[in-house]
């Protein structure tokens, strides 16, 4: 009986810790994740559902004691969940994407790969580039954003 009470106590502590840690992660990265999700699903109602799902089902490594989750892990997870929940009507074909200028090409490659979920190989194939070129464009795009 005492062991059962101890077990219940441990579970309760774990539950409270999880809630506190998940909510503090939400306070820190909620707006960042919502921005990503909204870019992928431009429908606030669905985007909010994905956001709630994201922060209420975070993998244990995100909120375990002593862990220091980095933003990139959360960025990847937000993208993955949003792409999985994206309604069919928001799926655009690769052929409908045409860059207007050369500067737009880096942004287009980034949009296609990150926000629309196309593989680097598919993008390379469509834009008649090599995979290395596509990755270089992502590099150049972020370099441009940093400067």
């Amino acid at each position: 009986m005492r062991a059962l009470k101890h077990f219940d106590g441990a579970l309760a502590t774990q539950a409270v810790n999880r809630e506190t840690n998940c909510l503090s992660l939400y306070d820190r990265f909620g707006a960042l994740a919502y921005g990503i999700i909204l870019q992928i699903i431009p429908e606030p109602e669905i985007a909010q559902t994905v956001l709630v799902d994201l922060f209420s089902s975070l993998p244990i490594e995100f909120y375990a004691e002593g862990s220091d989750p980095v933003s990139s892990e959360l960025i990847r997870l937000a993208r993955k969940k949003a792409l999985a929940a994206k309604p069919e009507r928001y799926n655009r074909s690769l052929s409908s994407q045409e860059p207007t200028t050369n500067d737009d090409l880096g942004k287009l490659v980034f949009d296609l790969s990150f926000y629309q979920g196309f593989s680097v190989e598919d993008i390379a194939d469509k834009l008649q580039l090599t995979k290395t070129n596509v990755l270089s464009m992502i590099y150049a795009y972020f370099k441009q954003q940093r400067s």
Partner: protein, 165 residues
């Protein structure tokens, strides 16, 4: 691939964004474990990437935090209930029925659990309602019989007056 090439090839960006294949990911993680220069570049890039996405951040509506809190609590309750499913659910329901603090009330096959004090309150309300009903009926019939008695006496009195004359 040479280490320097990693820094300018876009592989690090693709890795952080989750765009690389499993094989490329493993290859890069092996390199990160041994090459401090690449690791430092990755950390720096991660900070820049966070800043980029923070620039495009959108504050969620105020109710979302409560929804997340509620969902986490629901998940925890489900987890809590899971070990008591199956054989142990019988034991738990038995122990609940023996629990002196709660009384199981059945309404249309759905169970609700109420505090035992409510049982006393329900019984008290039930008894009081019966007492009021009986008292009400008693006074109603009594008033009715008194009214009839008054009518009868009035009739007798009217009948007696002409006789005296």
């Amino acid at each position: 691939m040479k280490n320097h090439q990693y820094l300018t090839s876009g592989v690090l960006e693709a890795y952080l964004l989750g765009l690389v294949s499993e094989q490329e990911k493993e290859e890069l993680e092996r390199l990160l474990a041994t090459d401090e220069e690449v690791l430092a570049q990755l950390n720096e890039l991660e900070t820049d990437m966070e800043a980029y996405f923070l620039n495009n951040a959108v504050p969620p509506p105020p109710g979302i935090r409560e929804k997340i809190e509620l969902r986490i609590n629901e998940t925890e309750i489900k987890k809590w209930q899971q070990p008591t499913s199956g054989d142990s659910s019988k034991k738990s329901s038995e122990s609940r029925s023996n629990d002196p603090h709660y009384v199981n009330v059945e309404v249309d096959n759905t169970h609700i659990r109420v505090h035992k004090h409510w049982k006393i309150a329900f019984i008290a309300v039930f008894i009081l309602s019966k007492i009021f009903l009986i008292t009400g009926l008693y006074f109603y019939f009594k008033a009715n019989s008194l009214e009839q008695e008054v009518i009868r006496l009035k009739a007798e009195a009217q009948h007696a007056v002409p006789l005296r004359r």
